[in-house]
Each structure stands twice: as C-alpha cells, then as structure tokens.
Point group: C2
Chain length 239, copies 2
DNA sequence: CGTCAATGGTCTGACACTAGCCCAATAAGA
DNA sequence: TCTTATTGGGCTAGTGTCAGACCATTGACG
C-alpha cells in the first residue's frame, strides 16, 4: 500500500476503449439484463442518451445484428428488435466461463458486488421510504417470486437493481448495475433449478422484510448471505 | 420504477466528456487527494497509464499549470511539480460550494459514499486478513491520528481509501475513490478543527477495531456513524 | 389506395485524438 | 568542464468521431 499502488487506483485509463467498443458493451448490457422488452429506442434518441454520434451507434448496432442479438427493420414502426435468447446452460459452460474470466477479475467482481449491494440495502433500510417506494419493492419481490425458470434471471436482476434505484442515488444504481453485469455471463451459465429459486425466494423475502422494517443490520446480513451462496459456487470452480 | 427509469441507469453517456476534460479531472483528483507528493510521473509514462496520447496529456497539464496547480520544468530531473496548497477555508465558502453542487447531486454523492464505504468495511471485516494487511491498516490509522490540521485531509483520505484497497478489489477501490472525490471540494471547505479531529479519531479507532475483530456488523455501523456526521453537516446547508 | 410520419441508410466537412518521431533543455556525474 | 541520460516541447500524417443534412423504406390510417 505504498504511494505507487495508491496512485494506480486513480491513474487508470481515462476511457475503457473507443466509443464503438464501449457502445457495444452498453447495448449488450441492456440486452442481457433484459432491461428492454422487444426493441431498442430509435437511433437518434439512443445516440443522444449515450452521448455518441449516430454513426458510431449504428456501427455498434450493426455489430450486434451480425452477432445475432438484433434484427434491424426499416421504415415507420421499424427499429432494432431483440432476437436474443439466453442459451440453455450446458455442462462445462460454467467452468469455461469462470476460467475465461480469470481468478483475479472474478474475485474482484464478486467482492465489488458484495460491497455495493450490501451498501445499497443498508442505505435503503436506513431511509424513510414513501409508501409508493415500499410498494415498488414489494411488487418486484412478487414478480421474481412468481416467475418461471425462463424469466427468472431477468426478474432477479430487476429485483436487485430496484433496491439500488430506490435509494434515489443514480451513482449507486449505476455501480450495482455494473457489478451485476460483471457476473451476468456467469449467472447465465448456471442452470436455474426449482430448488435454487425457492431458496432464493426465502432470502429475497428476508431482504425486503428487513428493509421495510428499517433494519440496516438485518438488510446487510440478508444480502450478504444471499450473495455468498452464488459467490461460493463460482469460487469453487477456481480451486 | 418503470421500464424507462430502469433503462436510464444503463443508457447514460458512454463518456463523461472529451479526453482532455477527463484528463484534467483525473489529474486534479491526484493532486487534491494528495496521492502524489511532489511531482507527477514523466509525461510518457503518465500518458500510457491514463491511456491517452502525450499531446492530450500535455494540454491538460498546461491547463493545470495555468491554473496554478503545477509548475513544469524541462530537462533531466524536470517534470510537473505540484504547487498546490488547499486554500484556507473561509466563512461562506462551504455554503457556496454546497449550493454550486446542487441538491440532487449532493444527496446522490453522499448516498453513494455511504453505501460503498460501508460495503468496503463490511467486506474487509469478513475477509481473512494477512498480518501484513492488518499492519497496513493500523499504520494508516496511526498516521491520521497523529496528523496536524495541515495534513489531516490527505491522511484521512488515505485511511478511507486503504480500507477499500485492502479488500483487494480494484473495482471497489475505484468506486470509493470516486465517491470520495465527489465530496472532496466540500470537505476542503470545512475548517479542520481540533475537536473534529479528536471526534473522528475515536470513530476511526472503532472502525479499525471492528474490522480487525472480524465484526462486519460493527464495522458497517462504525463507518455509517462516521460518515453520517459529515453528511448531516453538508445536508444542513440545503435547507 | 394514396399520404405521410417515423424510422433506418448514407454522405460530407470539420474537429479531436493518436502514434511516432525528432528537437531542446537541464543537471548529475565523470 | 564536458557528457549524457532524462525530461519536456513541437511537428506531422493518419484515424476516430461528430453534427447535420438528405435519401429510402415502411406501414397505419384516412
């Protein structure tokens, strides 16, 4: 923890890559997290939101279309339609995904996720929530608990992100989304079993109960336990 | 929390600004956080670390030199030397800084900081720490506790960042650094009083004790209490 | 069955940024 | 006093990105 290593924290690259690459990454996030139902917003609008030119956005869309994630149709009522269905997890996919990611990056991502999601739950449990927000949280819980295996990942993501978003901090929401994204591919490689869903449902209940009760310690602990299960499973492949 | 607002989390601008602006921002961070003692690394090296061209870096350095933060000297043993001393806080500086930042951004930053720093402390308290890391933490504590008013902010920053860095997650370290930076200007506008330092010292002790004892709940609570003091002070200016 | 609004497709001129090269200055050390 | 390694200063050719305009296509609706 000398001066050099402290510097490295701030003296990292200013930009993750070129605009094209970053855009592809972003769009993949939107698609894989299931944040958009059937088609992307119009190019002009999307380019404005992403702060890039239409040219660059279109290159990214073309790349994703060639990779099979999107199908683009012209004319009014056209657009970039999603044609992505998460592949059915196969034996050994997970191991390969974990190894691809690398020991250091995986540990980093899991630690990061643990910290920000626990922090978000704690903050939310500390805040004075409006009845509307409490309802939103209950609604997300209901959705994920009543989902079938096909929709499970998407609704689970929505539930976890909702906790961060309800804090009202967009920085925190972005951090949680980022953390989730770094393990999305790994999660998608884990088969969704009825038993896992039921187990997770109990933990989700505990999280919501603690948050609504205004119990930061309980919320923190519940999230930590919930995430530790997945983390331990993934870390197991590194041995 | 409809689809639109969930999208907004991910569909934010891919780049914060142009390379020049982001570089200036980064260098200011390094300077204001006191992460570098007397001069910046050589241009070629720095440009490589920041992932930008020397031309862009040099523009940023020139801007900072004109603003009085740096003095550049040519030739061997030359470089960009720091000539920045934090201005002595004056009455009303703080109020102006808070108002400049805006209600939403300030709340966002404070919430974000609360979440990531609490999360980092919790994670660190959960981890099995090597004796070396325990020593590093004790050392940072000792430094900040024995500092005078002049060095206080810098060593306080180092202490808080050390918690995140000791988790071994560079993502988490970056998030904490980011969170800290968003309130640096405000903190610098708060006079450093002996009474505040003593109060903070007790809280710092509690944080370290909980972490070293492997008590995540206690660590979380100690950090939350520590940060709540500052947060309440700043929020007071928004009323 | 035509109209037209909304959407993707394409082009151009301008600017930002980069990589790589060489020059100029400086101060430690022979 | 001279050499030389190290550092900032400056130039150029090439590429990435942007803003804005205009074209092409489509399908709902009158």
């Amino acid at each position: 923890m000398d001066e050099v290593s402290r510097l490295a924290t701030v003296l990292r690259p200013v930009r993750a890559g070129n605009a094209f690459e970053e855009t592809v990454e972003r769009l993949l996030q939107v698609i894989k997290l299931g944040l958009v139902a059937e088609k992307l917003p119009p190019e002009r609008e999307l380019a404005a939101q992403l702060g890039i030119s239409r040219v660059t956005l279109r290159e990214a869309i073309r790349a994703l279309a060639e990779a099979g994630y999107l199908t683009v149709r012209r004319g009014r009522y056209g657009g970039a339609f999603l044609t992505y269905t998460p592949p059915r997890p196969r034996r050994d996919d997970l191991r390969r995904a974990v190894v691809d990611m690398g020991t250091d990056d995986l540990g980093d991502a899991l630690t990061f996720r643990m910290a920000v999601e626990c922090g978000a739950a704690q903050v939310l449990a500390t805040a004075a929530l409006t009845e509307e927000r409490r309802d939103t949280l209950r609604e997300r819980l209901r959705e994920v608990n009543s989902s079938g295996p096909d929709d499970y990942r998407r609704l689970d993501t929505a539930f976890h992100l909702a906790i961060a978003e309800l804090t009202g901090s967009s920085l925190l929401a972005a951090a949680c989304a980022d953390a989730r994204l770094r393990v999305t591919d790994l999660l998608n490689a884990i088969p969704v079993l009825r038993r896992n869903i039921e187990h997770a449902a109990i933990q989700h209940e505990a999280i919501v109960t603690a948050i609504l009760a205004g119990d930061p310690e309980g919320a923190r602990r519940a999230v930590a336990e919930h995430l530790e299960g997945t983390a331990a499973l993934l870390r197991g492949f590194l041995a």
